[in-house]
């Protein structure tokens, strides 16, 4: 199964919805599936997007920003979820820090470059093992409602929450 291929990018709508919901700290490591999102954030001086060098470092920054009063979002390719497992297990979840993760879905359905196939298959199980609530972003539902679910869930549970971006939705 493949989600959201084709159709216009919802990256601008996502950024507007994030800002309207109060998200005000943005950091991450890019993915081609997130290129629209990264380029909008990177040229927006209000967003002050931090181009991190590793995904776990971006999560560390998000934790610091949250402690300082910001509402953080971290974007990454799903390969970066592998890099981030310990940061999620022994920092974000352990200290009860709400963080929104926007994670691209390379390797979805097994149709991708070889390096993405296994992570594409095990990404959602990894999130389940980390007890991180997640939803696949849908182009057929208002983006604001999906952001609202993520924000409410992460604040209520004091835990990270992931929105998964399949190909097309945020390119």
């Amino acid at each position: 199964m493949s989600h959201g291929k084709g159709g216009p990018s919802h990256a601008a709508e996502l950024v507007q919805s994030l800002k309207a919901a109060g998200f005000n700290f943005f950091a991450g490591v890019p993915c081609s599936l997130l290129k629209g999102l990264v380029s909008i954030l990177d040229r927006d001086p209000d967003a002050h997007y931090v181009s991190a060098t590793r995904e776990d470092s971006a999560i560390g920054m998000a934790v610091g920003a949250y402690l300082g009063g910001k509402l953080p979002m971290v974007l990454m390719q799903n390969s970066g979820l592998g890099v981030s497992v310990n940061a999620l297990a022994s920092l974000t979840t352990m200290y009860a820090i709400p963080t929104l993760l926007v994670i691209s879905w390379r390797g979805e359905g097994g149709n991708d470059a070889p390096e993405h196939i296994l992570m594409g298959e095990i990404m959602l199980p990894i999130l389940d093992l980390l007890k991180i609530p997640h939803r696949v972003l849908s182009a057929n539902e208002p983006i604001a409602a999906q952001i609202a679910w993520a924000k409410e869930t992460m604040l209520a549970k004091k835990y990270p929450v992931a929105l998964i971006a399949p190909g097309g939705v945020l390119e």
Binding site: G60, A65, K158
Partner: protein, 187 residues
């Protein structure tokens, strides 16, 4: 200089409203024993991420002073974060590194900071200043100089290895620590 002397020299110079983010390992337990305060964040897992946390905090709270108290093992593990600090260049961030060339909390195995000068890395990636101090007096004056100027700067103090016997672990639970610290950081 031993680590407790170095931590003492640092905390004498840290104002009440300065936020201190402390790396995991023995340094956190030593800071907890030497001078616990709600404005200390003790990172007890996620080795290597103390500087990233300090950077996010410094960007979120530009009017507050942020000190990251780090060890050589942590700096080496999260060396990429030095580049982020050099790129973002927050003026309110000071990076204090206690270098004993060992992973103290896992049994004193060697690190490679004897071969790699961490203050040179900091300078190369764009910190405003970086210095190395080999004894107590020069560490104290290096801290005074660094705190008198804008960051980001690194003060690295070389310290003796070894650990204090029976030193306490950080007591509050991680969510309690985060809540206490956040209340100070947002004040």
């Amino acid at each position: 200089m031993n680590k407790m002397e170095a931590i003492g020299a640092l905390m004498e110079r840290v104002s009440d409203d300065t936020l201190v983010v402390c790396c995991n390992g023995m340094i956190g337990r030593e800071l907890f024993t030497a001078k616990n305060r709600p404005s200390n964040f003790y990172m007890i897992g996620s080795m290597g991420l103390g500087l990233s946390i300090g950077l996010g905090l410094a960007l979120a709270q530009p009017s507050k002073k942020v000190v990251v108290l780090d060890g050589d093992g942590n700096v080496l593990m999260g060396m990429n974060a030095l580049a982020s600090v050099g790129s973002e260049r927050p003026a309110n961030l000071w990076h204090v590194v206690l270098d004993n060339q060992t992973h103290a909390s896992t049994g004193g195995q060697r690190t490679i900071s004897g071969q790699v000068k961490l203050e040179d890395v900091a300078r190369s990636v764009g910190y405003r200043s970086a210095s190395r101090a080999e004894d107590k007096a020069s560490f104290a004056s290096a801290l005074d100089r660094a705190f008198a100027e804008a960051g980001p700067s690194m003060v690295l103090g070389t310290v003796e290895g070894g650990t204090l016997k029976g030193i306490a672990r950080v007591e509050p639970s991680p969510p309690e620590l985060a809540a206490l610290f956040a209340a100070e950081a947002r004040r």
